[in-house]
Symmetry: C2
Subunit: 436 residues, 2 copies
């Protein structure tokens, strides 16, 4: 992208309404714009990050055998009456009446709809387990939306639903998803801790939240220092091996970790003082096992091995894909701007032309831009150097390639790593090679 014609409206001033770093930086770097309270448009740079995270989420869902579908945003109220949740859900549900006076709603989650699809399609235990997921926009009409896309009303969620013949099977599916989630967070550069959690309006028996630490977190969290020392993925855990899944689950759940809602002071007090860690946490995912909570009221059965009808056991598994964009920024920024991990960065590099119009500078920049083949922003604006440096740090691409007239004359550029600030003068070819 050439910034002279790119739709990247960066801001010099910090917008007054932005209270936390991710909200502030997403507005300033031109990643998003608010269109209504708690509703945002994603501009080109923001959308590229969102798509990168979505792709990683998808790959890890696929790896554990989940199948992708896509359910619509608008749901019929009648499905929610079957499960008994229509009246429970309260004002967070955006209720809609269509032109034929039918009651509809903008889906805040999809347990009912996926159960309905399942009961139309699956007849026999032989087809189990099934894990279905989709990545779709949801709406929750928060009374006070805030923190930008971290607590918006319209948000992108990946929600998965597992169907198993029995409790033992459901536990295996639950563990697969825990593995998929931890791998997802690791790949996007987030150190998450699974914590026991309340099941809330989803219902059920077993639930974990995935929490990252950040000063702006919405809840107080308590955990064993063991989580700081763990190298989860030093060993390989195969999603098709139940023993591996059990080992992974134990590794994740043996040490103490809880949000204030589930904090057990008696257990906490058994921990040595130098092993106690606490802080503020942001929830980035939530998984539930709830057995037949939906399959029973929705009359969903399969034929079991003995020929009798069985209500499958379900779990559901949510991760806020749009929220993860904010979480990554909360976890990775400095006073100058965002520091994107390589895996989710909108572009690999920013090319800064310090003297647009200078033949040597222009030629080197064009050469770099072509070589980076769509994976660079090229700052070809006629601004002064200081503004370009500031915008490059603000946008946070992992590499910056600074092309000035002095170096250009001798064929060299300055390569800067955003995360460390390290700078080195190199030939064009060596700079490209170093970025890999």
């Amino acid at each position: 992208m050439r910034l002279s014609h790119g739709f990247v409206p960066t801001l010099k001033e910090t917008p007054a309404e932005a209270q936390i770093a991710s909200h502030r930086l997403m507005l300033r770097a031109g990643l998003i714009r608010q269109t209504s309270a708690g509703i945002y448009a994603w501009l080109p740079l923001g959308l590229r990050v969102l798509r990168n995270i979505e792709r990683i989420v998808r790959e890890e869902q696929d790896r554990v055998g989940a199948q992708e579908i896509l359910m619509p945003t608008i749901q019929p109220a009648e499905l929610w009456r079957e499960s008994g949740r229509y009246d429970d859900y309260g004002k967070e549900m955006l209720r809609i009446t269509d032109r034929h006076e039918r009651e509809m709603l903008y889906g805040p989650t999809n347990e009912e709809m996926v159960t309905d699809l399942f009961r139309q399609a699956v007849r026999s235990y032989r087809e189990l387990p099934q894990i279905l997921y989709h990545i779709q926009w949801k709406f929750r009409d928060e009374v006070r939306p805030r923190f930008g896309i971290m607590r918006g009303r319209e948000f992108l969620m990946k929600d998965a639903y597992s169907f198993d013949l029995d409790h033992a099977g459901a536990v295996v599916s639950y563990r697969k998803m825990m593995l998929a989630y931890m791998r997802t967070f690791q790949r996007i550069g987030l150190q998450a801790i699974p914590m026991e959690a309340d099941t809330g309006p989803i219902g059920g028996d077993l639930s974990h939240e995935f929490i990252i630490l950040a000063p702006t977190g919405e809840s107080q969290v308590y955990f064993d220092a063991a989580f700081e020392e763990m190298d989860y993925f030093s060993a390989e855990f195969s999603p098709t091996n139940p023993d591996d899944l059990e080992r992974f689950f134990k590794l994740m759940t043996t040490h103490y970790a809880a949000t204030d809602e589930k904090h057990d002071t008696a257990r906490w007090d058994t921990l040595a003082a130098d092993r106690k860690r606490e802080g503020r946490g942001i929830e980035i995912g939530h998984i539930f096992y709830f057995g037949t909570r939906y399959t029973k009221p929705m009359n969903t059965t399969v034929t079991g091995p003995d020929g009798k009808l069985v209500h499958p056991e379900m779990g559901s598994y949510g991760v806020g894909v749009s929220r993860l964009v904010g979480a990554v920024i909360e976890a990775s920024h400095d006073d100058n701007g965002i520091i994107w991990p390589d895996t989710v960065a909108p572009y690999k590099a920013a090319i800064l032309n310090l003297k647009v119009g200078d033949t040597a500078c222009d030629a080197i920049c064009e050469k770099l831009y072509a070589a980076l083949d769509g994976n660079a922003v090229y700052d070809d604006r006629t601004d002064r150097a200081g503004a370009k440096f500031a915008d490059a740090d603000l946008m946070g691409h992992p590499w910056q390639i600074v092309v000035g007239p002095r170096g250009a004359a001798s064929g060299t550029v300055e390569l800067k790593r955003r995360a460390t600030g390290e700078r080195v003068e190199l030939s064009v070819e060596d700079a490209l090679a170093k970025m890999g």
Copy 2:
């Protein structure tokens, strides 16, 4: 995907509600399920086709320099009051009141919102032209939704919006989009004809619909036989060369082509009888040039070269991405099922194991499945051969690899091309090589 555990609920019976081939086949092949009137869930096979088409649409938008953003589904009514369309739009607009009694709506299109984003971000003619697009779910509350996803209420649309300094620039943007559209349709295997069209509720001066022929089309269309003979892309047309764009536009618009709404019988009668073609047509895209229709009432200006404020000239460009899935099926099926073009097929091949449990058959199928690396459905169900053949034809993957015990014993398989019915017996390696 292994069909024994894949979420692919094929139907033997034709659903009574399905009047046209695409609707019938999408239900029967397990691509979609209706969740409310005119609202559908996309199951794994259907979603893969939708994503393939979306990717091609995106690539061709990017190629002409359009920038991808993502606007939300829910819009504030106030924006539509600014343009004056809020009251005009009628009952097709899904109107919503949120918990704070604010008037919102589910976007049927995005002229207002994109103009609002543009006016916040762009100040100078130097940043023009800008073409912004997004691929997002839309809602139109059709009074009688029908034909499955061809005329649904919730549908996926790619809509692009161009902003230019003057009429001449706007014409260039319009031609770029015409080029992008024709390339998109060609890549997904559709022969489309651009036809002059009414501008409808979008407003404006110039408009073309892109029509494909199908007996179930919603309107009567009239065109010169020249369109049947044209090889649009025998020459290269560069989207950055205005002369190329003009030549392409002339090629597309010189010969007569019109829907019944704009049919000009006087011009039609000048055509020789043997050059006249007519039939039913399906609209798969629609482009508009409408100048300052939105920038004026929405007070959107940029500074022109002379320092004075100018209202940019706009166009908008829509293609129904979900509708294209149906259009491809309407254009490419037979009595047995769908015939997917290679570019959009959910999987490249179906592997049919005619004797699950036979050591040689199982081994060859697993080998093929691994070699095709995620790009095959493997029919590992214990059904009889006839059912597998029927389902493979129904689902319409471009290649079928039939693995039976006799061939397997000597290491051969039968490779069938779905489009031609051609079958050939080959070694596993040769079959893989032939599919390319």
